[in-house]
Subunit: 416 residues, 2 copies
């Protein structure tokens, strides 16, 4: 075990997950246990750090109850950002500024919990560090409900989102059967380019539930008329049809289905389009074209990433582990790496951590393999379900106070 | 205790709740325990009964595990309907038909679990029974997430919906703070004419959460421009604004806010408009008029009524009790009545059942009293929160199998 040469800083970036704070706890607790004097938290990631917004985490995580509450607190405790660092050659000043702030804080270990864009940040910072002979070490801690990070078997955050999607899909299917009437329920699920989350709706197909009737992932071009035809065929056999569909499905000619509506488009800092309305568009089309059919468009929305009240214990444990493993690796001399999860076996489920060169994963989007989608492109295969199933196992019961789940509160400083 | 003179039939009507099956269990178990030979279940309520669609519940609820699973199964196990009986004078034939079916089944006790429209059904059937010298007894079992039934302190189903709304409002508030950016999150909550559900968002305001910033109930006319002004005022103090708003808010001149959009209107069998899009309309208005403001419109949707994975134990217990009390009352000679809940004290919370003439409750909608809404009409008072708080207490843990909540499955017969 290497000697601790300085302080630690940790940040959270990108969209939150229900377990992202478990990784924060994993970094904090492991760093403290291994002798780090100070563990700082960047407020709103690298963007906040540039404005010198940070906290000493010991002032906020004071005891074991705080740790347990933080694990169960949704959204990024420290706040997040969507801030893409420029290429080093384009703007050395911003890097100089970051390193000056880190030096001032005597930080030698930098941890960033995030997805693809965050790994790009780690790549650039570690490159700059190398170029300039700095001894600050940079490690990525994987996180994303989208599960689209390369190299790792899966990402922490995905299992809990999948468990939430599976659970409420079961409930919504029961709900859809309540009236003896022709109906289509459309579940719109997150995942811009990768269908990992949408595919998780297949978990609802089990001994006590018939599952959704169709599942459409963004990996396969979507044909609106063919969809209408399939709904009509299903209606010959059953009244209540339930369809899970990704927010990001596109037609053959590359148009988002939600763009077929008259909505307004919004673009975030990374140039990603903010999508909404795929389910709504299809529901309205069915309303117009199928007489007597009741439709319901349900957007699972941000609950997919913040439903801490029903998390997977496997997921929250792994989220902690990747945080801890990143600290261990950095303290032992690694930099420019990301922690990954390696599945050793499915049954019994065994998964270990490993380290991986961040240069090889940054900006690579992992999609659902074609062979995990059925031939007709309207459901996932049993292999896909076997892959997800271990990730949703067991629960971490919320700490209930006066009827509601309790969180670790840290708003007065963030909400201003 | 009266002698059991014949069989029992029970039906579920109107929108489901997370605990409506607990009332079904309450009727079934109490009737069996008190000696009823057969307990039939109508499939899809009175509408199904007219087509002679029913089951012998003993064939489906076989043991104590089934009972525990059924309590935790969302949506109406027997299916539901929205079927309004005609006035007796307008169509005696339909009544003759119902009574002929009941006679054939040797049914002497008829239980209907539902809200306002279902109590109207009980009223008409018991009137007809009286007019024709039938000895079949008709009892209403209250149920609705909307909490808009008169005479009863509250309705089973409301407490669990309120607990769900309070819990996810907390989670969504945390999520809204993640980016350091001007934002408005709009939570659209069910409740066409009464603000009981929307008001439950105030539960999120507690020691570890700042709660929503504004709450708009349908009881108070909504002024769009005033709303925009209030958002701007809030943005001077904080970046992330969270607003809970009823799907049914109307402007001063009686127009639904969601009608201000270009959506298509749908009307159900009772002539109720199907509403959607209030939050979306306001989110789009903010997008157009407030530069740099990120908006998110979240419709809580059917999860409000089917989120069995997070129910209130108080609620699920009371749902069972009103079912049992209805059986007891009918067996002892009552008819044309509904079971109500009477709150004896708030702290400690004590609530008992009583019986009430269904003629006095049918078709009366209970609204939130004006004095439980603040003067400016944009939040609820502490009295309102004190009223709800006892109803969301404690949990009934789902029975988890392979990572998901287990339900009692009964689809092959219903979904056709």
């Amino acid at each position: 075990m290497g000697e601790i040469r300085g302080n630690v800083i940790v940040g959270q970036s990108g969209g939150p997950t229900a377990v992202i704070n478990s990784s924060l706890v994993g970094v904090y607790k492991t760093a403290r246990d291994r002798g780090a004097k100070k563990v700082y938290g960047m407020l709103h990631g690298i963007q906040g750090l540039l404005e010198e917004r940070y906290v000493d985490l010991s002032d906020h995580i004071k005891n074991d109850l705080d740790i347990e509450l933080l694990k169960r607190t949704p959204s990024s405790y420290l706040g997040s950002c969507r801030f893409k660092l420029p290429e080093i050659s384009d703007n050395r000043e911003i890097y100089d500024k970051i390193f000056a702030i880190l030096d001032k804080l005597e930080v030698k270990y930098f941890f960033y919990i995030g997805g693809n864009d965050s790994m790009d940040t780690i790549k650039k910072l570690s490159d700059y560090s190398l170029l300039n002979g700095s001894d600050i070490r940079f490690m990525g801690v994987p996180k994303t409900i989208d599960n689209d990070l390369a190299a790792t078997d899966h990402t922490p955050g995905y299992g809990s989102a999948a468990k939430y999607i599976g659970s409420i899909t079961k409930e919504v299917i029961r709900d859809g059967l309540v009236y003896d009437q022709l109906g289509v329920t459309l579940l719109e699920i997150m995942g811009r380019n990768a269908g990992w989350l949408t595919g998780a709706a297949a978990l609802a197909k089990c001994e006590d539930c018939e599952g959704p009737d169709m599942i459409f992932l963004p990996e396969i071009p979507f044909d609106v008329e063919e969809f209408m035809h399939k709904v009509a065929e299903l209606h010959k056999k059953k009244k209540s049809v339930v369809v899970a569909i990704s927010e990001g499905v596109k037609t053959k000619d590359g148009k988002y289905v939600c763009e077929l509506t008259d909505g307004i488009d919004f673009v975030d800092a990374f140039g990603h389009k903010q999508l909404t309305g795929t389910a709504r568009y299809l529901a309205e089309k069915i309303n117009r074209e199928v007489p007597g059919c009741k439709t319901r468009a349900i957007e699972f929305n941000s609950l997919q990433r913040c439903a801490s009240h029903i998390v997977s214990r496997v997921d929250i444990t792994e989220a902690f582990q990747v945080g801890g493993a990143a600290v261990k690796a950095a303290f032992e001399g690694e930099t420019g790496k990301m922690i990954i999860l390696k599945r050793v076996s499915d049954d019994p489920y065994i998964c270990v951590t490993d380290i991986y060169d961040v240069h090889k994963v940054a900006n690579v989007e992992k999609k659902v393999p074609r062979e995990w989608i059925n031939e007709t492109g309207d459901f996932v295969t049993p292999e896909f379900v076997n892959y997800i199933r271990p990730l949703i196992q067991a629960e971490l019961t919320p700490i209930m106070v006066d009827g509601l789940p309790r969180h670790l509160y840290y708003t007065e400083k963030l909400n201003k």
